[in-house]
């Protein structure tokens, strides 16, 4: 007898289902089930993955959901056809929108009008009918069953029977069958599956425990009452329902009616308004031709030929892939941004397109960099997405434009499936398993390598066998939970826009913002469906560039346009080669800037390479080291196979850009470029699962067919696999490089305006404001303190110097700054009483203003102002009563006190470096300065000290941490002497409480590699604590 499971929860029934959709389908295939239904709780998030994997396993997918009704009861819905899918998505949407986030409740009467194309099953024990029978209310059960039969039609409504070997299952089944007969509908068996295999119950219990924040042993009634909720064979189900064979055969009957599958291809886009009688393609052509003279002002006839050919080539593919309205939609967004003078920059693979370049969507000329359009769009790959960065402060204007233009029902954000990570979930799992609290804090530190450390930890935990087993479960569960969906979040910028309301295509959920919705598919699902999104992203560097240009215009009247900017200024490249890049987009990080003196960039293409190198993909694949060895002539440029030369020549034989994966697969294993791109995308997925093995087998076989040795093929595939985690497409890197150059050019020629814009848009880039201020000071720019009569809300350029703004005074906030500016008007504050009366700021905020020196111009010592503040406040607040001022002889703040106070309130000192204060004492302690450090020899033991600038523990660094200290000599020389410290996991763990302090001293050994100096830390001290102990 055949059986089809019609009630299956995957792990997209968040914190309830305990198997990936792929595992369920794999098991269904093993059991020879012809079809399988996916019926997650109130969502269709797993539908695309389910559909894709179903093809792989040869099991026909059936789509559905278990809907939560307004009274909390469940109802199972299965999709028969396209109308049914639209109705299911609409119902899930209605249920999601009617309840708080994370819950769903379908409003009463919402089913009416949305039942076409759906088959309904009465649901699990939480279904209204079984629940009524279980509480003995047969009359209610009958009424509900009759209502469902009326709503869906008798042929589309089935009474659902379960037998999980619970004590009262048989009795409930008998009652349900009788009820079905009474109403005149049929019944069907399901197993309400929550995991693929019978041993999945432990993980399911754990998920429920995580959901309810309880220990597993505390779950009680929340725990499933038996271990029978796995995908069973037809034989097993037949035995369980031996008295009701119709219940089994009806599963097949229902499955036969459910023939819907998701259709791959770009979604229906809204039709862009076109000039009369013109097609979208013709309009695109017209726009491109009109823009040629602006984008290519001095084009030779030969170049013009190439431009025209490229335009026609792209337009033909755009037409084939039905992407013309998508292009126009994105063009509309960019035009809106231009009209509103919002800075933007198109990037991603869309920068491969000359049409995008001519429509001013992207800044990259693909002809100049020989960029292949098919990386973005091809009949094979179908559609690609445009990623556009906007000034982050003005991004909401773009989003509002989208919703206004297309309607809130037609535009929604893309979801982000938040998943468990094996290591980060350890603590949560440990709690649920009842592992003692005091053992938990050491977990992550101890569990560096799973298998080895579990043995060690079980020993630490007491060594009893029982505890050992619990620890083993911890590791097993952590491994199993890795990549498990946990809940739905929002993609950071992806929007989908559709012609019909979105809930016709996919269910949506509300976000925290009114009238903002998120679809239940993530970017992988969107990509697999062939849908397109527009990534509307915020990028702080654009705020910095926009503000710099605005300030230059306000200050000098000069309106700078980047349209005619040539990207070849030697002064800019000289600055980059010196690693003088603080505040420069992408190149200011420690890792990036350390490479620049080696790389010595001289042209725009060098910038493209520089920013492509420091990415997880190239780092893990070992590209960075190999690239520099080759660049510096320490290693010859070689290829694992001669056929890879064309693909990898531009990056000296290393794998650097995404496009190269497809080119390598094409050259070595005979893949089409489209297949190569598909492989790259598959390997980069969060849940690549068995896809990796499939691609590997295809790759190795393809390479073997071309006479490539097994060893070389495996080596190349391993490189590709490691690389797959994250790397730039070349076009994207080129688009980013435009911003790198623009920001570097502004820093080079307008350093004060640029530094001000950086300070006003923090956090931007790698460094904090203290480093930006020090860098400006190093360039001879005067840093002017906050002044209650001269500062504005933000920092500003004043007589060539930088006047710090109220935005740097702790606790003042925008409101406090606005109050001061409004009260001041054109009349300066004359003393503290005047200031207090006119601003009425809270005393704590005025204290901070005093402490940071904002009232220095009255020539009253800060300590005295602080003393007076209490009296002034009392006088003003108590109806002007005159107090006799108590005269106290207060000593002025010492320089050390002043520096520490400024550091506390502003985060840095405007006129001195805090380390200068400690210098005499540090000299006595044998501390080496940053300036002296460059003369130290490799391996020399040193003690250094400074202000902590950055502490990083990147996930790619195997537990190593990177600390950067700065002392006062950083700011006085022509070059940078930041002190870079490498901290091993062992040293980090030993000093984890100290390492985040602001002032640190480090004992360690010098490691010199060319001009790069690192200190390998051996011991770390809290400098402030040591200084206090020595009364410094």
């Amino acid at each position: 007898m055949d059986y089809v499971e019609l009630h299956t929860h995957s792990n997209f029934s968040f914190l309830d289902g305990a198997s990936h959709p792929e595992n369920l389908l794999q098991r269904a295939a093993e059991l020879k089930h012809s079809a399988l239904a996916l019926t997650d709780h109130d969502n269709v998030s797993g539908a695309v993955r389910f559909s894709q994997a179903a093809k792989e396993y040869g099991v026909r997918p059936i789509f559905g959901a278990e809907i939560t009704l307004h009274d909390g009861h469940h109802l199972l819905l299965l999709v028969k056809n396209q109308t049914g899918w639209a109705n299911l998505c609409t119902l899930v949407t209605l249920a999601q929108h009617a309840a708080p986030k994370g819950e769903a409740k379908l409003p009463a009467d919402a089913l009416k009008g949305h039942t076409d194309g759906l088959i309904a099953l009465s649901g699990c024990r939480k279904g209204a009918i079984p629940a009524a029978l279980l509480r003995g209310d047969r009359r209610a059960a009958l009424a509900i069953a009759q209502r469902c039969a009326d709503l869906f039609g008798k042929e589309n409504f089935f009474i659902e029977l379960h037998n999980h070997l619970l004590r009262d299952d048989k009795s409930l089944i008998r009652q349900l069958v009788l009820l079905a007969k009474q109403v005149g509908v049929e019944y069907v068996a399901t197993n309400n599956v929550h995991y693929a295999m019978s041993d999945g119950h432990g993980l399911q219990d754990l998920l429920v425990a995580i959901k309810h924040k309880l220990k597993i042993e505390e779950l009680r009634h929340l725990r499933r009452p038996s271990h029978e909720y796995y995908l069973k064979s037809a034989d097993e189900m037949a035995v369980l329902f031996e008295d009701y064979p119709l219940a089994i055969s009806n599963t097949v009957k229902i499955a036969e009616q459910c023939r819907f599958d998701l259709q791959h291809g770009i979604q229906e886009m809204p039709a862009y308004p076109l000039p009369d009688g013109m097609t979208a393609i013709a309009y695109l052509r017209q726009l491109c031709l009109e823009a040629i003279s602006r984008r290519y002002p001095n084009a030779s006839p030969d170049l013009l030929d190439r431009i025209h050919q490229r335009i026609e080539h792209e337009l033909s593919i755009i037409a084939q892939t039905h992407s013309e309205h998508y292009y126009l939609l994105v063009w509309g967004i960019c035009r809106f941004a231009q009209r509103q003078r919002i800075w933007y920059n198109g990037r991603g693979s869309g920068a491969n397109s000359i049409v995008a370049y001519l429509l001013f969507i992207s800044p990259v000329d693909p002809l100049q960099y020989n960029l292949v359009f098919e990386r973005f769009l091809s009949p094979e790959r179908q559609a690609g997405d445009f990623d556009i960065d906007f000034e982050s402060g003005r991004r909401p204007e773009i989003i509002a434009y989208l919703f206004d233009k297309y309607g809130v029902d037609h535009a929604a954000m893309v979801a982000n499936v938040i998943t468990f990570k094996a290591r980060s979930s350890l603590r949560d799992i440990a709690k649920r398993l009842g592992i003692p609290e005091d053992a938990i804090p050491s977990l992550r530190a101890e569990l560096d390598l799973f298998e080895q450390d579990i043995r060690k930890n079980s020993g630490l935990a007491g060594g009893s066998q029982a505890k050992g087993i619990t620890w083993r479960y911890l590791i097993d569960f952590a491994g199993q939970l890795h990549a498990f969906p946990r809940h739905l979040g929002q993609h950071n910028g992806g929007f989908v826009i559709t012609r019909k309301p979105i809930h016709h295509y996919v269910a949506t959920e509300p976000t925290r913002m009114k009238d903002r919705f998120v679809i239940q598919w993530d970017k992988d699902s969107i990509g697999d469906m062939g849908w397109v999104k527009v990534d509307i992203l915020g990028l702080k560097i654009l705020d910095v560039i926009a503000e710099t240009l605005r300030r230059i215009e306000e200050r000098t009247g000069e309106q700078i346009s980047f349209d005619n900017l040539r990207y070849d200024d030697p002064k800019v490249y000289a600055m980059l080669t010196l690693a003088d890049t603080i505040g420069v987009f992408q190149l200011d990080s420690r890792a990036q800037s350390q490479n620049l003196p080696f790389q010595r960039p001289k042209k725009f293409a060098d910038i493209v390479i520089a920013i492509s190198l420091i990415r997880p993909g190239p780092i893990i694949a070992g590209t960075v080291h190999a690239y520099f060895c080759r660049l510096l002539g320490q290693e010859s440029v070689t290829y694992l196979h001669p056929s890879l030369k064309d693909a990898l020549a531009d990056s000296l034989g290393t794998l650097l850009w995404q496009e190269q994966v497809a080119l390598v697969a094409h050259a070595l294993a005979g893949f089409t470029l489209g297949e190569g791109e598909q492989m790259r995308r598959s390997l980069g997925k969060k849940y690549a699962g068995s896809e990796i093995e499939r691609w590997e087998a295809k790759f190795i076989a393809g390479a073997a067919a071309r006479g490539v040795s097994d060893e070389v093929a495996h080596k190349v595939f391993e490189q590709i696999k490691a690389f797959g985690s994250y790397a730039f497409p070349r076009a994207h890197a080129a688009a980013f490089a435009v911003l790198v150059y623009q920001s570097a050019w502004l820093k080079c020629y307008f350093p004060a305006d640029y530094a001000v814009a950086c300070l006003n848009n923090m956090p931007v880039g790698f460094w904090g404001p203290n480093v930006v201020v020090s860098d400006a000071r190093r360039r001879g720019i005067e840093i002017l303190p906050v002044s209650i009569n001269k500062s504005g809300a933000k920092c500003a350029v004043e007589n060539g110097g930088i006047r710090l703004g109220f935005n740097y005074v702790t606790t003042l906030g925008d409101t406090g700054a606005a109050k001061i500016e409004a009260a001041r008007g054109s009349q300066p504050f004359v003393d503290l009483t005047d200031f207090y009366k006119r601003t009425r700021l809270p005393e704590s905020q005025i204290e901070n203003l005093i402490i940071c020196g904002a009232m220095e111009e009255w020539k009253v010592p800060r300590r005295e102002l602080l003393w007076r503040l209490g009296t002034v406040a009392a006088q003003v607040n108590q109806l002007g009563l005159v107090f006799e001022e108590e005269l106290v002889d207060l000593p002025p703040l010492t320089q050390a006190e002043k520096l520490r106070a400024e550091l506390t309130v502003l985060g840095f000192s405007p006129d001195d470096h805090v380390m200068a204060h400690y210098r005499d004492w540090l000299n006595k302690k044998g501390v080496t300065t940053s300036e002296q450090l460059k003369r130290c020899r490799d391996g020399q033991k040193v003690r250094i000290a400074g202000v902590s600038m950055v502490l990083q523990r990147p996930p790619t660094a195997k537990g190593f941490a990177f600390l950067t200290l700065q002392d006062e000599f950083f700011a006085e020389k022509d070059a940078f002497y930041m002190m870079d410290i490498i901290i091993s996991p062992k040293v980090y763990d030993a000093h984890h409480r100290i390492v985040r302090k602001l002032l640190l001293a480090v004992d360690g050994r010098v490691q010199k590699r060319g001009n790069i100096i690192n200190i390998i830390a051996e011991r770390i001290y809290d400098l402030q604590e040591r200084a206090n102990a020595s009364s410094v």
């Binding site: 070997l165 619970l166 009795s171 119950h201 038996s226 035995v239 087993i469 479960y473």
Partner: protein, 84 residues
């Protein structure tokens, strides 16, 4: 009336059919053919470290209604309750 069987008297032997269903039980030296299984259910218990699972059968034998159990970990059978 219900009679709960003391632990020391609970152990039985059981004869199974091809589908692993009990068809007769042996209590002491007496064989009780099972006339009907009116209900069967499964109860998981124990902990992660020491899991247990019992199948319970409500059966009719000559003159008795019984609830017997099968410990799936140890494969031991026993009588839990009798009704006359």
């Amino acid at each position: 009336m219900t009679f709960t069987v003391p632990a020391e008297f609970q152990p039985i032997r059981v004869r199974l059919d091809e589908g692993s269903r009990p068809v007769a039980l042996f209590w002491g030296n007496v064989e009780y053919p099972i006339e009907r299984i009116s209900n069967r259910y499964r109860v998981p218990s124990g902990s992660l470290e020491e899991p247990e699972c019992h199948d319970f059968y409500e059966i009719t034998t000559s003159g008795w209604l019984m609830r017997i159990y099968h410990n799936l970990q140890t494969d031991e059978w026993g009588i839990e309750e009798l009704w006359d």
